[in-house]
């Protein structure tokens, strides 16, 4: 391998509205290497890629490509310079034909006009390298996600780029298609093309990558040869944990007050789509069950199945002893479930409405008579929750957007608590909340469990899982690979299961 790097990004800075997304990040790609870029959600991988492709403008740092200073201000320029990108969300135009999606931007012309026959042939030729034969004249939306992903890849390699960036290209592919993709990657490598490969599936990284760059909190924390770093080191570097170190108490979770009761919800061998393949777990009354796993392990997707947003394709769920197969969130709420989603802004709050209105949105049918909301009832309910959860606001009438992240989260919690759920699913309950408020939310979750609520908590923060959960299920690539209980819940144990898919310290998943 040559010594001079093809791409070198150093001390790259990027801020969004004053908040740093990248601070001194670096990335170096050698010619003809397959380079893994990994990190947790929010580590800065996508920002790094978008800075490189000119989608975002960097605030600082230097980039050199092929020995020259590299300044691009649009994806168009990046592509013209030899950098092709396959984005995580498939970025194609569903209404247009497969040929157009592959060939737009480097059309073939005859007498100055588009030569459709040549373009159709070119599209067919590129797809045939993946063993795909389809009618390229049809709109892209006629084909399934995996085919669309392959079309995106065909488009990228069709540009005869020197660097191909693949941002989680395998998330919608099955094993056979992944094998085809890897063959293409090796072919690219043999042709001297470099590949940046972003993925959360560790086995894939070891199979196809030469080197790895690990990012965390907008910084590059480690660069290593793939064959010199083991999975545990990889995961620890991503999560920022030293495996050998034992921690003091970092979160506000107290020990639980009482032992867990009977099983509230039990799921067996759940499967849905590519993300959930075989998930089994149980949650008991009065306990906090933690879902640990890397990004893309299938945690949120499992929660979506439980809440009736997505349908399970296989497996069974029992809620309080009854067979449970929710077809919509309404079914789930009726059965006694609540779901505080990961993204408050997108799915939770209505920013322009008041605290009271946000809190009672889901309750309108119950507190209204013939469509008229009883203000007295609403105010009593809201005031009791404001007191109970310690929501800091000027009053029930304050607009929720004026509240801090932690207090918004409490309003959302209250919204669900007001429906009297027996099982509350919390997806990243403390993400984006400042340290002080974090502790309050964590204490609140514990006290809710102590009052008998069953809590299923998804968290990417290791401390939160280790200190907060009474029992932990570790998910890896859509499967529950470990169940940890009581004393067995240690950082080392969870990390080990996340990295290797099994843990030495645990018994098998209860069935």
């Amino acid at each position: 391998m040559a010594d001079t790097p093809l791409l070198s990004m150093s001390r790259v800075e990027k801020r969004f509205a004053g908040i740093p997304a990248l601070s001194g990040a670096s990335l170096e790609i050698l010619p003809g290497e397959v380079h893994a870029l990994i990190g947790q959600n929010g580590a800065g991988k996508s920002t790094m890629i978008k800075v490189l492709t000119g989608y975002h403008r960097r605030d600082g740092g230097t980039v050199t490509f092929a020995g020259e200073p590299f300044e691009v201000h649009s994806p168009h320029q990046a592509q013209a310079s030899g950098i092709s990108t396959i984005y995580q969300e498939i970025n194609l135009v569903p209404l247009r034909s497969v040929t157009e999606n592959i060939c737009l931007g480097r059309e073939q012309r005859r007498f100055g006009l588009l030569d459709w026959n040549a373009m159709h042939r070119e599209a067919e030729r590129l797809l045939s390298t993946f063993g795909i034969r389809i009618d390229v004249r049809r709109p892209l939306m006629d084909f399934n996600t995996a085919t669309q992903q392959m079309v995106a890849i065909a488009r990228a390699i069709g540009f005869s780029a020197r660097l191909v960036i693949m941002d989680e290209p395998t998330s919608s592919l099955d094993d056979k298609e992944v094998a085809v993709l890897f063959r293409v990657i090796r072919q690219l490598k043999a042709d001297g093309v470099s590949v940046i490969f972003v993925s959360h599936k560790l086995d894939e990284l070891y199979e196809v990558c030469d080197r790895v760059t690990i990012m965390r909190d907008g910084k590059t924390v480690r660069v290593a040869d793939m064959d010199k770093i083991d999975k545990l080191d990889l995961v620890s570097a991503m999560l920022g944990r030293d495996v050998g170190r034992s921690d003091g108490h970092a979160t506000a979770f107290a020990e639980r007050q009482r032992s867990a009761g009977e099983i509230v919800l039990q799921a067996q061998n759940l499967a849905a789509g590519h993300a959930v393949r075989d998930v089994s777990f149980a949650v008991k009354r009065g306990e906090i069950v933690g879902f640990a796993g890397l990004l893309g392990a299938g945690r949120t997707e499992t929660a979506r199945v439980l809440f009736g947003i997505d349908r399970a394709q296989a497996g069974s769920i029992r809620m309080e002893g009854q067979a449970y197969d929710p077809k919509s969130p309404k079914d789930a709420i009726g059965a006694g479930l609540g779901f505080v989603t990961e993204d408050r802004k997108l799915e939770g709050i209505v920013p322009e409405l008041s605290v009271a209105e946000n809190l009672t949105l889901a309750l309108f049918p119950r507190i209204s008579r013939r469509g008229i909301i009883s203000e007295r009832q609403q105010r009593e309910l809201v005031e009791s929750f404001i007191k109970q959860l310690g929501i800091k606001c000027s009053g029930p009438g304050q607009k929720i957007r004026e509240l801090s992240g932690g207090n918004q989260q409490k309003v959302l919690l209250a919204r669900w608590l007001a429906t009297h759920p027996r099982l509350l699913i919390l997806d990243e309950p403390t993400r984006g909340i400042d340290v002080g408020a974090k502790g309050e939310i964590q204490r609140l979750i514990r006290s809710l469990a102590d009052q008998g609520l069953a809590v299923l908590m998804i968290s990417s923060e290791l401390e939160e899982i280790v200190e907060g959960a009474d029992r932990v299920f570790v998910l890896r690539e859509g499967r529950t690979v470990a169940e940890l209980d009581g004393e067995a819940i240690t950082e080392a144990g969870v990390l080990d299961a996340m990295a290797h898919g099994h843990s030495h310290q645990i018994e098998q998943v209860a069935s």
């Binding site: 994806p75 209404l95 247009r96 588009l114 389809i134």
Partner: protein, 325 residues
């Protein structure tokens, strides 16, 4: 993969052609002289202005945008053309098209550089162009020159074909070639299908969008030239509601109002369909059996539009289901 008959292509694209043929057949059966030379040529002559405006609108809508300013732009163009006609045919054309280019440039700049929503941006220029037309014309019709031959642009013939219809036909041929056989044309459709993706694919979305507003403006200006030549005067208060007629013709022609899918040829069919409906109403009144006021044409056109939009919505939701299954 089994080969399905594509309902979208059949109904969405050629449905309007079938409807047009049926309507013409009905008119031929019911009215004497409906397909007579005089009637056919006057329908073509009168509707060529609308055809030009609809062609520009078609490109803007295919990117997912809208241009509400085309009616006022045509009025402004007609005044500028009438003023220019006193210096010859070419200055007349340059005046009208130039006024259109000016409005188109403003629209394109507002939408692509300042990121103002097309609806708002072109609503503003619609008001501004209308005011400019009245100012330029001193609040009255502006007579064209009858010495420079300018009026032939609206009233003359080449062989038996009305000149405005020939101009419109040439514009549609050019528009169809651009849409189907140039990368700019395909990019127009890609932008309407998914603008963000098209940008990420490294295509110049801003530039192409700018060009569609420029095209729409200049075609509206050209329509203004023909308007002035046809009626012998620049008409600062004409053009009211043209934008809605153009949008209706584009949508009846099977182009998705959200962009991403459309056709130039069926837009022309949409213009003719709506134009012939109006023509038939005149025949109906001429027969004297029933008396339908001109207001009925709007009701009937509106009904047509609704039917088309409902069919589009149903076809699209069927597609969506097909994809997820």
């Amino acid at each position: 993969m089994k080969r399905r008959v594509d309902m979208r292509v059949l109904l969405g694209t050629y449905g309007v052609v079938v409807a047009l043929v049926l309507l013409v057949a009905f008119g031929w059966w019911r009215y004497e002289n409906f397909l007579g030379m005089f009637n056919v040529m006057s329908v073509l002559r009168y509707n060529s202005m609308f055809a030009l405006v609809a062609l520009g609108m078609c490109f803007v809508i295919m990117t997912g945008g809208i241009d509400l300013s085309v009616g006022s732009t045509a009025a402004l163009g007609s005044v500028a053309a009438a003023l220019g006609s006193h210096y010859g045919i070419i200055p007349g054309i340059v005046g009208g098209v130039g006024a259109g280019l000016l409005v188109g440039t403003v629209n394109g700049t507002l939408v692509t550089r300042l990121n103002i929503m097309p609806f708002i941006a072109t609503l503003a220029t619609m008001l501004a162009a209308s005011g400019a037309a009245l100012l330029l014309a001193n609040n009255q019709s502006v007579s064209i020159s009858y010495e420079t031959g300018f009026m032939n642009l609206g009233q003359g013939n080449i062989w038996i074909l009305p000149i405005p219809a020939v101009i419109a036909a040439l514009a549609y041929v050019a528009g169809s070639v651009i849409l189907n056989f140039t990368s700019a044309g395909r990019t127009v459709l890609a932008i309407g299908g998914n603008e963000d993706a098209t940008n990420m694919m490294g295509l110049r979305t801003e530039r192409i969008k700018f060009l569609t507003y420029l095209a729409s403006g200049s075609l509206a200006g050209l329509a203004g030239v023909i308007l002035a030549a046809q009626f012998g005067a620049g008409q600062p208060i004409e053009g009211v509601g043209w934008e809605l007629f153009a949008i209706a013709a584009v949508v009846v022609g099977g182009t998705l109002l959200t962009g991403g899918m459309g056709s130039v040829g069926t837009t022309l069919a949409g213009v003719l369909l709506l134009g012939i409906l109006f023509n038939m109403l005149n025949f109906e009144n001429g027969m004297g059996w029933i008396s339908l006021s001109a207001y009925w044409q709007s009701v009937i056109r509106g009904g047509f539009l609704l039917v088309v939009v409902i069919i589009q919505a149903r076809l699209m939701s069927k597609e969506a289901k097909h994809v997820t299954s």
